[in-house]
Symmetry: C2
Subunit: 414 residues, 2 copies
């Protein structure tokens, strides 16, 4: 009987731990088939440095609590393994660690870059003669993985942005007669506007202008639209993606400003947009930058997202038990209304390094909103609430004990 390895990779989310919970709980249901599941401390780096968390030392209650805990319970990392040709030593080290700890299953929980690493690991049997089954568990707030209907983590961010856009709009609407008329919310998504699109999920009675990375910023058209909204509704809410660019390709967030000491001033797109409106239209504004709050907001997670994250972790283990390798379980949408889905799968070779962009028919003709088709796609992903338990007014999130497996090898530098 062989052991398994699980690691979290890249930016964490509100529900990546729900996938970890799915992987570990499902593994525990098959003690006759899979032995210990080791989690990499800080992702794949934990494998390379032989820093393996022995998850069998975590209580059932704590593993269960992962399902309602945001962030990466075992630590994540931003570390992309190079190609086999460029850095064979790293792959040899992986095999050395896998051998030392009798690991035959590799579960990698991440986005597009990680799918590429997982693909390379899945090929180790072939390329380096070490028998391993590598299964990728999808995760990314960027929602840019192909094949799967959506990516765990995205639905909860979308819900956070939609709710925040709604709440701030209610606020501004009640102040607009004598005070703030413009609210700008900056959201994540450097390459694609999936997250910004979620601002369009609020009711039509709320005037929201969305700035997508996919659409070059047209200052004149934008200001006209904002002004029209203020004149019609009394106020205007703007959801701006951090990836929104001027026609010359510069990010709005690159302000080119200098402080008193001549340091380049890093800003964020929200204050740029807000100041632009103030300078030209004269409206009083407020702006917010959600940053990590949006992806860490487990308190407002989408139930659909939590369930899918867990189901994908569970499916990954089942696929391993079925002898599969180099695959990723995926969400297949079977109906829109009511939203139904099932677990399907994709080959890692079709997933690694493939970025799913927003379809062009998801953005409205004027470039400032989402279409009905996009609304239909997004709506089910924010459905349902899944509240964490609270203690003393705060969510009762779990911290893993992180009992480390004994090291058997010489140290390795990454």
């Amino acid at each position: 009987m062989k052991n398994a390895f699980y690691a979290q990779s890249g930016g964490v989310t509100a529900v990546i731990n729900a996938s970890a919970c799915g992987v570990i709980e499902t593994t525990r249901k098959h003690p006759d088939k899979i032995g210990t599941i080791y989690a990499g401390q800080n992702g794949i780096i934990g494998a390379l440095t032989e820093n393996l968390i022995d998850t069998s030392k975590e209580s059932s209650a704590d593993i269960k609590a992962l399902k309602h805990t945001p962030s990466g319970g075992f630590g994540s990392c931003r570390y992309k393994m190079k190609s086999l040709e460029t850095n064979k030593a790293e792959y040899e080290r992986l095999i050395e660690v896998f051998k030392a700890h009798d690991i035959a299953y590799f579960f990698y929980n991440g986005g597009g870059d990680s799918a590429d690493t997982c693909l390379k690991v899945s090929q180790l049997s072939e390329s380096m003669g070490y028998p391993i089954q590598a299964i990728h568990v999808p995760k990314t707030v960027d929602n840019d993985l192909p094949i799967t209907d959506n990516c765990p983590g995205f639905g909860s961010v979308a819900k956070y942005i939609a709710v925040s856009t709604m709440e701030a709009s209610f606020d501004v609407a009640s102040m607009a007669a004598t005070s703030t008329k413009i609210f700008v919310l900056e959201v994540m998504g450097r390459h694609a506007g999936w997250i910004a699109a979620a601002g369009g999920l609020v009711d039509d009675s709320i005037p929201v202008v969305i700035l997508f990375p996919e659409v070059d910023f047209d200052e004149k058209k934008f200001l006209a639209k904002v002004d029209k909204n203020v004149k019609e509704f009394g106020y205007c809410t703007i959801v701006v993606s951090e990836g929104t660019k001027w026609p010359d390709g510069r990010f709005l967030a690159e302000q080119g400003a200098r402080d008193d000491f001549g340091h380049a001033q890093l800003g964020g797109a929200a204050p740029v947009v807000a100041n632009l409106i103030k300078d030209t239209l004269g409206y009083k504004y407020h702006w917010a930058v959600a940053d990590y709050l949006q992806r860490a907001a487990r308190h407002l997670a989408s139930k659909s997202d939590v369930e899918q994250a867990y189901a994908l972790g569970e499916a990954a283990v089942n696929m391993a038990l079925e002898g599969k390798n180099s695959v990723m379980p995926a969400i297949i949408r079977t109906s829109n209304n009511p939203y139904t889905w099932k677990i399907g799968s994709g080959e890692l070779k079709d997933i690694a390094n493939v970025e799913k962009m927003m379809p062009t028919n998801y953005i409205s003709d004027d470039g400032f909103g989402i279409t009905d088709t996009c609304h239909e796609y997004l709506q089910p992903l924010i459905e349902g609430e899944d509240y964490p338990p609270y203690k003393n007014g705060l969510p009762d999130y779990v911290v893993m004990k992180k009992v480390m497996a004994d090291k058997k090898l010489v140290p390795f530098e990454v």
Copy 2:
């Protein structure tokens, strides 16, 4: 039988509508004593311009839904009435409107400035011979009203900031090994650090450094503290009040920066603090500015806050029925653990223009955290959850129908 007037004033909160609900529902229980309750459209301006919302036209279900709806359901305003001597015409107009609509009760829902307006209105019997009872309903996220244990709106902001600080810290903790080590969250509170203090409610295992407006920013000491945290915990979270100042009195948020066109660049304190850390300690950072999201976040309201906001609205009506004038119902804390409270009251002359600052023994000796005394004070205020109902993945907030009372007077310019 006389009618009543209710208005929302100043910045809105997650629970000011709960007070409105308390006022209106309680009034409706006494149809033999109080007739129609008119709400000022956009606060006191609605009274001056005779834009009176006839709340009797709102359904019981909609009024009930105010309890779970953030923002100002009838519109608020930033408008401070001048003194009777400076602008007698405004007070005469108020009386004219009150007379025309047979209004004898004045409920004003606001903070310190509004308490002053309410006080002036309460003196109209004496100063201008118009019999009116004016009751102030406390509200302000700034938590700076005297007499009351706390101010409705504050507890929910505190909960939002504590939960957000916790969630973002979990996120950074799992990324810190290879990526972001610093997270900076900017919060409201230009004059007092009440809101920033809420960042100190997270568990001691999370390294949080708080920058208060009450404490001059000591760059060297601050950087040393941050560096120590990163070395000990691997990361550091900073909660910075928008009101934090350099020793020379300038706000951190005044960056003195200019963009490419020479426009003054408005930033926010968070990017300043983040850049300072990057420039000196070299740590990778992320920052967020919560802005209106924090005060509009009804989805994460404190149950204790919602209950108190409602109870104060209810108490205001009962006081009016008892014949009181020039008073404000207040929360009186009767025990800390368990937290118990009752409704008391204060005289407006003791409340108007009095600002309750954070006691100095609430800030830790090093100036970067809260004391146990402060923790004991704040803890009960974030207790309990009070979720709004959801529909299609979004909170089911209510929008008032706002049926306007017929105008009986000539227009009046404000």
